[in-house]
Symmetry: D2
Subunit: 469 residues, 4 copies
C-alpha cells in the first residue's frame, strides 16, 4: 500500500499532483485508489476499486476541485479488505472537526483495539485498520488540545508496521511506526510545496527534490507555521525495515535508507551467483521484478545476460481472460519466450521469489518448449515460511510451497534442472555500506519484531461478502 500527500501554502491544483504521485506508487497496490482534497477545511473526496487510471477519470479528478493540501492512497487487495468500501483515505467528522486518514502497512493489535471499541458501542463500516485507527485518534482528540497531541497519544496504543498520512482542516501529519517497517519520505518542489510519499520515485514524478526519510517513530506536522518533527514519544525499538521492500515491493528507481532498490536487487543476484553457481549459456530474468537480480547474477557469474521472455505490456486489470475452457493460459498470454535467446541454451532463470511454485513450473515449460536444454531457477528471496503481519501480502502457510516441500521437491515440481534460493545470511549483505540497518526478515526466519496479533472473531465475521460485480 502507498500514501502520497502534498501540502501547498495556497489554493492550487493539488489533486492533480496527488494523481501523479499515486500513479508512481501504483505498484504498491492495484485494488483501490482514493484522493481527498482539503480546501481550507472543506474536504472533497473520491475513492473506488480499481487502479488510479480507472478510478480517476478526467471528470472525477476535476470534480475534486482545488485546495491547499491533499492526500491519496493506493491499496492492494488482501482477503477481507477488498472492495470499494475499504478504499482509503477515509474521511470522518468528529466533534472538533474532520480527519482524513490513509494508512500503509499492518496494525498488529487492530483486532484487539476493534473488540475493545465495539464493546463500547463503536460501529465499524469497513474491515480495514484505518477505521480502527480513526477511532483511537478521535477518542484521544476529544481530550487533546491539538490533533498532533491526539496522534502522539494514539501511537502509544497502536502497534505494528505502518506509515500514515493524516489531514485535519489545517494540518497534514505524516507518521512512521517506531520499528520503521515501511519507507516514507518527504521532499519539496521549487515552488515550495511539501510532498510526502511512500517511495522516493513518487517525489521524482512530481518534480520534488528528496529531503529525507522519516525516522522510525517520527511524526512530522506540516502546517502554516512550517514543519514540526516529534520524536521519542513512544519509546525506542529495534529498527526493522521490511527486507521485502528491496526484494519485491518497491520500485527499482526508488531509494530506501540511502540504498538504491535496483542496486539491492542486483546485489541479491550477485550473492545468488556466489551461493548457487551453475554452468550455463544465458541468464534470463522474469519481467519485470526479476530483471535487476538477473543482471546482478549475469555480471557476477560472467554468463551473458539475455532477453528470454517478453511481457505483453497491454495486460491490465480489465483483461477478461475469456474462454478458459479452451485452456489459453494466463501466464502464456502475459509472457512469451524469445526462441532465439533460448534455443539450444542452458538457461539461468532469475525470479524475485517463489510463492506457490505454479508460475515457475509454467515458465520452465515455456522455456523448454522454446528450446532451452536446461533451466536453472534462481530466486532472489529465501523460501517463504511464515505469515507477515506488517502489510506485506504473503499467502497463508497452506499455500506456501516451501512450508510443505523440501527444496528438492520444489525443483521436481517446477521441472527445473536445479534450483537455488538466496541464503538467509545473505539478506544482511544487501545493503553493504549501510550495514547498520536492521531488517525485518520474519517471513523467512519467523523472528517477529512485535508481539503477534490476537484475532477476535465476531459471530458473523466469516460471512462477509462483496457485490461480485
Amino acid at each position: 500500500m502507498g500514501v502520497f500527500g502534498i501540502f501547498a501554502g495556497e489554493k492550487t491544483n493539488v489533486a492533480s499532483s496527488v494523481y501523479y504521485g499515486l500513479y508512481a506508487l501504483q505498484h504498491r497496490g492495484q485494488e483501490s485508489a482514493g484522493i481527498v482534497v482539503n480546501d481550507d477545511g472543506v474536504f472533497t473526496s473520491y475513492n473506488d476499486s480499481g487502479i488510479v487510471n480507472d478510478v480517476f477519470t478526467k471528470d472525477r479528478l476535476e470534480g475534486l476541485g482545488q485546495g491547499n493540501m491533499a492526500i491519496g492512497h493506493v491499496r492492494y487487495g488482501t482477503l477481507g479488505t477488498k472492495g470499494r468500501i475499504n478504499a482509503e483515505p477515509i474521511v470522518i467528522n468528529h466533534v472538533k472537526g474532520k480527519l482524513a486518514i490513509a494508512t500503509a502497512g499492518g496494525i498488529v493489535n487492530a483486532s484487539e483495539l476493534k473488540r475493545e471499541l465495539e464493546l463500547q458501542g463503536m460501529i465499524f463500516h469497513t474491515t480495514n485498520a484505518a477505521e480502527v485507527v480513526s477511532y483511537v485518534i478521535t477518542k484521544e482528540r476529544i481530550s487533546s488540545s491539538s490533533i498532533e497531541e491526539a496522534v502522539v497519544r494514539s501511537m502509544e496504543r497502536i502497534d505494528g508496521g505502518f506509515c500514515m498520512l493524516l489531514m485535519s482542516p489545517q494540518k497534514m501529519i505524516a507518521v512512521r511506526d517506531k520499528h520503521g517497517f515501511h519507507p516514507i519520505c518527504y521532499g519539496q518542489r521549487e515552488s515550495g510545496e511539501y510532498v510526502i510519499a511512500s517511495e522516493s520515485c513518487a517525489l521524482d514524478s512530481v518534480g520534488a527534490t528528496f529531503i529525507r526519510e522519516l525516522d522510525p517513530g517520527e511524526i512530522i506536522v506540516f502546517s502554516s507555521k512550517g514543519i514540526e518533527s516529534i520524536r521519542d514519544h513512544c519509546g525506542k525499538a529495534r529498527e526493522s525495515l521490511c527486507v521485502f521492500e528491496y526484494i519485491y515491493t518497491a520500485r527499482p528507481d526508488s531509494t530506501i535508507s540511502g540504498l538504491s532498490v535496483h542496486e539491492a536487487r542486483a546485489r541479491a543476484g550477485a550473492l545468488l551467483a556466489a551461493a548457487h553457481p551453475v554452468e550455463a549459456d544465458v541468464v534470463v530474468g522474469v519481467p519485470d521484478s526479476g530483471l535487476d537480480a538477473a543482471i546482478g547474477y549475469a555480471n557476477a557469474s560472467g554468463i551473458p545476460y539475455g532477453i528470454g521472455l517478453i511481457k505483453n505490456k497491454y495486460i491490465g486489470r480489465t483483461f477478461i481472460a475469456p474462454g478458459q475452457d479452451v485452456r489459453e493460459d494466463k501466464v502464456k498470454i502475459k509472457l512469451n519466450p524469445v526462441r532465439s535467446t533460448l534455443n539450444g541454451k542452458r538457461v539461468v532463470l532469475v525470479d524475485d521469489s517463489i510463492v506457490r511454485g505454479t508460475t515457475c513450473a509454467k515458465l520452465v515449460g515455456l522455456l523448454k518448449n522454446a528450446g532451452a536444454v536446461e533451466v536453472h531457477i534462481r530466486s532472489s528471496a529465501p523460501p517463504f515460511l511464515n505469515p507477515c503481519y506488517y502489510g506485506t501480502d504473503i499467502d497463508s502457510k497452506e499455500s506456501l510451497i516451501a512450508c510443505n516441500h523440501t527444496i528438492e521437491e520444489i525443483r521436481q515440481m517446477t521441472g527445473a534442472d536445479s534450483i537455488g534460493f538466496l541464503r538467509l545470511e545473505d539478506l544482511s549483505k544487501l545493503g553493504v555500506g549501510s550495514s547498520s540497518r536492521g531488517f525485518c526478515t520474519a517471513c523467512f526466519d519467523g523472528i517477529y519484531p512485535t508481539k503477534p496479533p490476537v484475532i477476535y472473531k465476531n459471530k458473523y465475521d466469516t460471512k462477509i461478502s462483496e457485490n461480485k460485480k
Copy 2:
C-alpha cells in the same frame, strides 16, 4: 424517502423483488438507491447515487446474489445528505453481529444524539440520520438479549416522524414512529413471502396482497418463528399523519389509512372549487400531480376537464440541459401547451402546491401564449409557511413565496387572473369517512407534534463538499 423489504422463508431471488418494489417507490426519492441481500447472515449490498434503473444494472443486481431476505431504500436529496456516501441502507458490523438499516422520514433529535455520541468518541462517516440511529441501536444491543429488545429500547431515545426497516442476520424488523407520520404497510405473496413497503402501490408491484399498515408506535419482527408485533413500548402520542403524503408525496394509486390518495386529491379539488369558484371554460391540471385535483375541481364545478399541458415523458435525471445561455427553458422543455384546449379559453390551472412561484409564473406565460384569455390558479395545498422536520423536503422560509408575500402579491407575481389556495380548515375534510385521523399540518399552521430540533454545529460542519462530478 421509501423503504422496501422482503422476508422469504428460503433462499430465493429476493434482490429482484426489492428492485421492483423500489421501482414502484421511486417517486419518494431519486437521489440514491440501495439494496442489501441477506443470505443466512452473509450481507451483500450495493448503493449509489441515482435512480433505481441507473444504480442497478443487470450485472449489479445479479451481483447481489440470492438470499432469504433483503431490504432496499430510495432517498431524495436534501441539503447535507446528498451523495453516494449517504445512500442507504447502511450496513454495520458490531460485536454481536451485523445490522442493515434503512430509514424514511426525519429524526428531530438526531443532532442532539449525534453530539452526545461524538463526545463519547463515536465517529460519523455520513451526514444522514440512519448512522445516528445505528449507533443508538448498537449501544443498546451490547446489553440486550435480542435485536428487537435493542430496537425497543432505542425507540425511547429517538423522536421524530419516521419509518425504519432493519435487518439482522436472522430477523427483519419494521418500525413506525409513535406519531405515525409516514405510512408503512405489509402484505404477503401467495408463495408466502412477507413484503414490507412505504406505500401499498409497491406491494401491488410484486404481486403481494395488502394485509395492513403498521400502527403508530408499532414494531413488527419477521423471523423464522413468524410475525411478532410489539406495541405500547414508547407511550401514546396524538396521531399525526403527514397531510402532504396525500397532497403530494404518495402515488395516487396507493391507499393510506384506508383512504385512496387519488380520492383525497380529487376531494381537495372539489373543496377548492367550493372555496374558490370562478367562471371558466376549461379545467387543466399540471402533470402529473395536479391531475387528480383538477378532475375533482372539474366535477365539482361543472367546468369541463381538459388536457392543456403535455409532459415530455422522456425527461430524466440525466437530461443535460445544454446551452442554457440560449435560454431554452427547462419548464418549456418539460411541459408544452395544447393550443386547441386553451386558445380563446378562460382556464382554471390546478397545481398541487405553490412553493417558490417561479414554475407557476412560467406556466401562466405558456398558457397565455397558447391563447388562454384568462388563467386562474388553484393550489390543492394551503400556502407553505413553516419548515418540516419530519422528512418532507420543503424549502427554507426564505424561499417560500407565501412567507414573504400576500396572496394578492403572489397572484401578481405569477401573472394569474385569480389565485386560490386550499383552505386550512378543509384539510381535515380530505378524509371524509375516516375522520378520526389526526393530521400533521405543521408546514401550513406551525403546530408541531414534537418538540423542535436543536441543531449542534461542529466547527467544520458547514464545509461539507461532495465530489461535484
Copy 3:
C-alpha cells in the same frame, strides 16, 4: 421516426438546439439517435443506439462543437433496421463534396433500387433506406450542377411515404414526398435561425415560431441566399396523410395540417361514443396515448372521466425486468389501477389501438381485480388488417389479432364485457373543418396510395445479426 434541423446564419451552438428538438421528437423513435454538425463544410457527427438522453452525454454533445447548421434523427426499431449501424443521419463523402441524410418514413421501392445498385457494384453497409437514397442522390449529383438539382432528379426515382432532411457543405434541404404521408414543418426563431422538424412541438421546444408545413412534393432549400421552394417536380398525387399520425404517432400538443392532434383524438373518442354507446359509471384512458380519446368519449357520452390507471413515470429503456421467472408482469410494473376510481364501477376503457390484444387482456384483468364490475373496451382506431409500407411500425399479419379473429372473439379473448372500434367511415371525420384532407388508411382498409414494394432477397439476407449486447 423524426428529423430535426437548424440552419443558422453564423457559427453557434446548433448541436444543443438539435438536442432539444430531438428530445421533443423522442416519441417518434427510441431505437437510436444521431446529430451531424456542419461547421462551414466540416461535418462532425455522433450516432448510437439508445434514446437522446443516453446517446448524448454532456461530453459527446460538446464534442460536436459549434457550427452554422446541423441535423438530427431519431429512429424506432423495426426488424432489420436496428442497431448502431443503422442509426441516422448518415454522412457520406462523394466526389463533389459531402452529404448528411436523415430520413423518416418508408421508401416502397428501396429493395428494387438497392438490387439495381448492387448489380452495379455498389456496397451497402447498413440495412436502412437512407443508404439507398444516398446512392441515388450521389449518382445524380455527379451529373448535376447543384445538390438541389440532384435531389429533384432523385425524387423521380424514389417512391413512398417519407420526409428527408439533407445537409451539404453549404445548404440544408427539406423534402416531403408527393403524397404527403408524414408531417414536416419549419419555423423561425427571433434570432433568425430556421428550424425544420417532423412535428410542430419540436419547434416549440426551441422557441421557434411555426411558419408552415411543407406541401406534399415540396422541396425547400435553405442557404445563405435564403429560402427557395421547389414544387411540381415529380407530378401530382392524391394527398394521403397517414391517419395514424393523429391516432398514435404524433404528440397531442402538435398540430398537423392545421388540426390539433389532441383535438383529433378527442374527436375520435366522441365518434366512438356515438358509434358504441354503453351504460357505464366512469371513462378511463390507458396512459398516455388513450387519455385524449377518453376525454372525448366522456364529454360526448356524459359519463364522468376518471383516472383509473397510474403509469410509473420512471420506466425507461434500461428497465431490466429481472427475475421474470417470478412472474412480475411488465404491464403490472408499468400500470397500476386506482381502486377508488374503479371499485364497484362499470368502466369504459379507452385505448388508442388494439394490435395483438395481449396488453388489453391484462388491463381488463387488472381493472377487474381492482373491483370493476364491467369493463368495456373502446379503441380509437379501427382494427388493423394490413401491413404499412410507409414507415409506421405495424406488426405482420400473423400477429394482428383482427386478421385472425372476429370482433366477438377478440372481446372474449380480452375478457371485456363489450368492445368497440372506431368505424372506418368515421376516420374522415377526425378533421372536421379541414375536410379536404385525404388520408392514407391502408392499414385499416388495404387501399394503398402507391404500388406495393417488391422485395429482393440476397442469399444471406436473412442471416443478419447484431451484437446482442
Copy 4:
C-alpha cells in the same frame, strides 16, 4: 496494423481466440479494434476506438456469440483514418453475399481507385483503404464465379504494401502483396483450427503451431475443402520486406522470414557498436523497444549492460495527464532514471529510432540530472528522411528532425555528448544467414519499390472532423 483470423471446422468460441490473438498484436495498433464472427453465414461484429481490452468488455465479447470462423483487426492512428468510423474489419453486403475485410499496410493507389469509383457514383462512409478494397472486390465479384476469383482479379488493380484477411460466408482468405512488405503467417492448433496472424507471437498466444509465412503475392483460401494456395497471379516483384518491422514494429518474440526480431535488434546493436564505438561505463536501453539493441551493443562492445530507466507499467491510453500547466512532463511520468546505475557514469543510451528528437532531449536531461557525466546516444535505425506509403506511421518531412538538421545539430539539440545512427549499409546485415531477403528501406534511402501514390483531393476532403470526445 494487425490482422488475426481463425478458421474452425465447427461452431466454437472463435471470438475468444481472436481476442487473445489481437491482444498479442496490440503493439501493432492501439487506435481501434474489431472482431467479426461468422456463424455459418451470419456475421456478428463489434468495432470501436480503443485498445482490445477497452473495446471488448466481457459482455461485448460474449455478444459476438459462437461461430465457425472469425477475423479481427487492430489499427494504429494515422491522420485521416482515426475514429470509430474507420475501425476494421468492415462488413459489407453485396448481391451475392457478404464480405468482412481487415487490412494491414498501405494501398498506394487507393486515392486513384477511390476517385475512379466515386465518378461511378460509389459512396464512401470512411476514409480508410479497406473500403476502397471492398468496392474493387465487390465489383469483380458480380462477374466472378467465386470470391477467390474476385480477389485474384482485384489484386491486379491494387498496388502497395499490405496484407489482408477476408471472410465470406463460407471461406476465409489471406492475402499478401506481391512485394511482401509486411509479415503474415499461419499455423494450426492441435484441435485442428487454422490460425492466421500478422506475427508469429499471436500464434503462440492461442497455442497454435507455426506452419509457414505466406509468400509475397500468395493468396491462401481456407474452406471446408481444406487449404488452397494461389500464386503467381499478379506477376513477380522484387521482395521488399519492411526493414522497420525488425527495428520497431514487430514484437521481439516474433520471427519474420526465419529471423528472430530480438536477434535482428541485438545485431543492430552490435553493428552500431562497431560503427560508433565510445568509451563508456554502462549501456542503457530506452524501454521497451531499445532494450534488445542495448544488449547487442553491450555484448559487442564489452561495456556492461545496466537498467537505467524504469518504465511505469501502468501507463495506458486513458492516462489523463491532468494539470499540464504545472509542467509535470509526460516523459518524466513514463520513465524514471535509476540513479545508482547512472550516477558518475559515462552512459551509452540506445533507442530504436530518433524521429523528432524531443523525447531524446528529455531523456538526456533526465540521465544527467541523475548523475550521468556523459550521455552517448545510439539509434538502432538510420535517420528518417522520407515518408512511408506502405502503412508505417512515419511523420511528415516537416517534423523529421533528420530532414532539417545535420547529425551534429541533432547532437547539440538533444544535449548528448555524441550521437550515432545505424549505417544504411548495415541494414542488409541484420539478417545474416537469411541474406537473400530484400528489404524496403525507402524511409531511409528514398528508393520506393512501387510507384508513388497520386493523391486526389475532393473539395471538402481537408475538412474532416471526428467527434472529439
